[in-house]
């Protein structure tokens, strides 16, 4: 066992139990893709140029109309090394993180396929001052840290390359945190130290196994191919192959990594779908609250449901990508499997993994189907609640409008009275003007009026005359009013028990204009608007009948009519109702 003293970078002394030589790292992840998307990424990277080799930075030019562009001292760059139409892209990427305080030269290979498989590959050439020289130089402790660094930096680099739609999918599934996107790790090395002839010695449950598990999580299997001495360590999150003939195993390791990364993606997708159920459940609870009369939460429910629907749409589209990608992969695997190493292929049960993965993708469709029904159901429920809320607003508005009309009409009546007073006043002024022009004029009766004996008589005559004029004017006004049909809105509160079926039987014979039903937890309010006609079919009034079906209660009758005698109309409506519907306290 080698002890490494603590250094400036790591706070602890690492126990370097296992070291590898000539280490190649393959990180694999699944990003939903298609041929057009890959073509778009290829155009961004100028993959169509005859001579590949231009570096493309991922910086954004915010002033494209200007002459020059100021770069940053450190930036990521990507160079296409190979491409085949919209099938695949193969690149080299140099990653520089300006926040890194440690000297790192991260140059990696990248491979994208139109099926969405992405491979990042790197060969370690140096860790600290240990340079690759074909001997076991690099401890698993250090390799684990490099793998994490590559995972994070490759996620950030990939975020700058993928399309907006792909980023939306990734953000939705991994909740916008690149660190949540972990990748399957494949390690191919030439040599291991210590080397045990019995590979079970590595699975000691202690020191060596712990070291392995730092990189590949729980160690599931250690396999040795006796023919060429290749050792494979298979864990939940990675695979390590120690072989002198790496070419023989690269295809198998790559394919296995693709499958495992797809499993990671499906796990994350399924978890996200579970969270979506949670979001919909929350929306359902809020909508149910509105049906209990708490309308303050409608906007919140709307926001949650809108967000959940958007996420559902995104996740739904993901499954189409998966279906398409893995149908092709399945065919391909059966074409190439015979060229892979049989011993390791059987050990890692790749056929079983692939079949199982396809079934899982298929089953995700079932969850999505249920989610689709739930989303639709909630949208309908919410629309109903919003509609009911709109009706309530409309009713309130209608009542307010009627009240306002009443006020206006009252003002108009006051205005008529004022007009009459104006006429009288103008007449008085006209007489005053004439008197001012011609002076006071006398008639033979003037002398009589001046006579003290008749002064009181004339005073009483004047008063009598004033009274007669007032009576004539009042009568005249009343006669004019009686000739005008006025609008009336009469609301009669009844609140009596009755049989709703009798009401509905009564209404079935009426000219019903609209019916508004409001189903709440504690009541079922029905508002019916119908026209009332006389025996000759002339429209008399619009009647609104309000009753609670659940509590069998006739609540209110509103009469909206233009009539000379509203009292007789009111009596007629109530008589009609009492004849048809038997009510009691």
């Amino acid at each position: 066992m080698t002890e490494l003293l603590g250094d400036d970078y790591i706070k602890d002394d690492l126990l370097e139990s296992i070291k590898l030589g000539n280490v190649r790292i393959i990180l694999s992840e699944l990003i939903p893709c298609d041929r057009n998307t890959l073509e778009s990424i290829g155009q961004k990277l100028m993959s169509k140029r005859t001579l590949h080799g231009e570096f493309v930075t991922m910086l954004m030019d915010h002033f494209p109309e200007s002459t020059t562009f100021v770069s940053e001292p450190w930036c990521n760059s990507v160079r296409v090394v190979d491409s085949l139409g919209s099938d695949y892209l193969s690149c080299e990427a140099s990653m520089q993180d300006p926040d890194d305080v440690v000297e790192q030269e991260e140059v990696i290979g990248m491979f994208f396929s139109h099926e969405g498989h992405v491979i990042y590959g790197a060969q370690i050439t140096r860790i600290y001052d240990r340079v690759e020289n074909g001997t076991p130089q690099f401890s698993l402790d250090h390799i684990a840290r490099i793998v994490v660094d590559l995972m994070n930096d490759s996620s950030l680099l990939m975020d700058t390359l993928i399309t907006h739609h792909q980023r939306r999918i990734i953000d939705c599934i991994f909740k916008g945190t690149p660190t949540s996107r972990y990748k399957f790790v494949g390690i191919i090395a030439d040599i291991i130290d210590p080397h045990f002839d019995d590979v079970n010695d590595y699975a000691d449950g202690e020191e060596y196994q712990n070291e392995m598990e730092q990189l590949i999580d729980n160690l599931q299997l250690v396999h040795k191919n006796e023919e060429d001495g290749t050792i494979a360590f298979i864990g939940d999150a990675g695979i390590i192959i120690i072989t002198k003939e790496s070419e023989k195993y690269e295809l198998l390791v790559t394919f296995y990594s693709l499958l495992k990364s797809a499993e990671i993606f499906i796990d994350s997708l399924f978890h996200r779908l579970e969270l979506l159920w949670d979001e919909l459940f929350q929306a359902r609870k809020l909508i149910e609250k509105t049906s209990e009369g708490d309308y303050s939460v409608i906007t919140r429910a709307q926001n949650i449901l809108t967000e959940a629907t958007a996420n559902f749409t995104i996740l739904n589209s993901t499954v189409s990508y998966l279906d398409r990608g893995f149908e092709l992969i399945y065919e391909r695997w059966h074409q190439i499997k015979d060229s892979t190493n049989t011993s390791l292929r059987n050990a890692i049960q790749i056929d079983h993994s692939l079949t199982s993965l396809l079934k899982r993708i298929n089953d995700v469709g079932l969850v999505l189907q249920s989610l689709s029904s739930e989303v639709e159901g909630l949208q309908t429920l919410l629309s109903t609640q919003i509609e009911q809320q709109m009706r309530r607003v409309y009713n309130a508005l209608r009542d307010n409008t009627r009240s306002t009309s009443e006020v206006i009409r009252a003002s108009e009546r006051t205005g008529d009275a004022l007009n009459v007073i104006e006429l009288i006043l103008s007449g008085s002024i006209a007489f005053d003007i004439i008197v001012a022009i011609v002076g006071e004029y006398n008639t033979p009766l003037s002398a009589l009026a001046m006579n003290p004996e008749f002064q009181f008589l004339f005073f009483f005559l004047s008063a009598l005359m004033w009274l007669i004029i007032v009576i004539i004017l009042k009568k005249g006004m009343d006669w004019i009013k009686s000739r005008v049909e006025r609008n009336h809105l009469v609301r009669i509160s009844i609140n009596m028990k009755c049989d709703p079926e009798a009401i509905e039987e009564f209404l079935s014979k009426k000219d019903v204009i609209s019916m508004d039903e409001e189903f709440l937890v504690d009541r079922e309010t029905v508002r019916v608007l119908y026209n009332m006609h006389d025996n000759n079919g002339v429209h008399l009034a619009a009647i609104t009948l309000t009753y609670d079906r659940k509590h069998k209660l006739l609540q209110e009758v509103s009469i909206d009519a233009q009539a000379r005698d509203i009292e007789s109309l009111k009596k007629r409506v109530l008589d009609e109702l009492s004849k048809a519907i038997e009510c009691h306290e």
């Binding site: 790591i10 890194d100 790192q104 050439t125 140096r126 860790i127 600290y128 660190t179 972990y182 730092q214």
Partner: protein
């Protein structure tokens, strides 16, 4: 039991000893991992080291944390020795939380833990001002020691992933990608 296993058992005991059969208290895995990390960098857990690992968080995301495989393995060993019990609890976010508490056998074993080991463990989990045990709390993916008596808080750097200086060259598997994509060997 190794000394580190004793330390681990004592940590679990310190956080669960107030419970009884009626209302047992369990200590969760993530706080234990955080205390182990803190114990490693303070030289308390002598034979452990740590490496970054992607840990599922309560909100369904994942976070890189310095996890000690030796520490996790010793928890397994304590379970195998029947010194602790394990409990798996589901969370509202469809995740799971694993928690532990000492068994009766474990409680008897704790009585034999030397005072020196007890003092070492207490030196990291006790608030020096109040002499009460720190709670380990998670806030925005960060983990803190928190003293409920005086309100003192101290971050545990379990999520501070250390970089090492290294260099890589690009590598892609040497098979022909055209062949890989088309499914026909040598098909150009």
């Amino acid at each position: 039991m190794t000394e580190d296993q004793m330390r681990l058992l004592f940590v679990i005991d310190q956080y669960t000893k107030k419970g009884d059969e009626e209302n047992p208290i369990w200590v969760k895995e993530l706080p234990i991992l955080a205390i182990i990390y803190d114990g490693i960098i303070k030289g308390i857990f002598k034979d452990y080291d740590y490496a970054p690992w992607s840990v599922p968080m309560l909100d369904g995301t994942r976070q890189w944390m310095n996890v000690s495989r030796e520490g996790k393995d010793d928890v397994e060993d304590l379970l195998n020795l029947r010194l602790i019990s394990i409990l798996r609890i589901s969370t509202s976010q469809y995740g799971y939380v694993t928690a532990y508490r000492p068994t009766e056998l474990g409680k008897r074993a704790i009585k034999n833990i030397p005072q020196k080991i007890r003092d070492e463990v207490r030196s990291i989990i006790l608030c020096k001002t109040c002499d009460t045990i720190f709670q380990v709390i998670i806030k925005n993916h960060k983990i803190f020691y928190h003293c409920e008596s005086c309100g003192y808080e101290q971050k545990i750097g379990i999520d501070d992933i250390e970089d090492v200086p290294y260099a890589t060259r690009p590598y892609l598997p040497s098979f022909d990608f055209k062949w890989f994509m088309s499914g026909k060997k040598g098909d150009d």
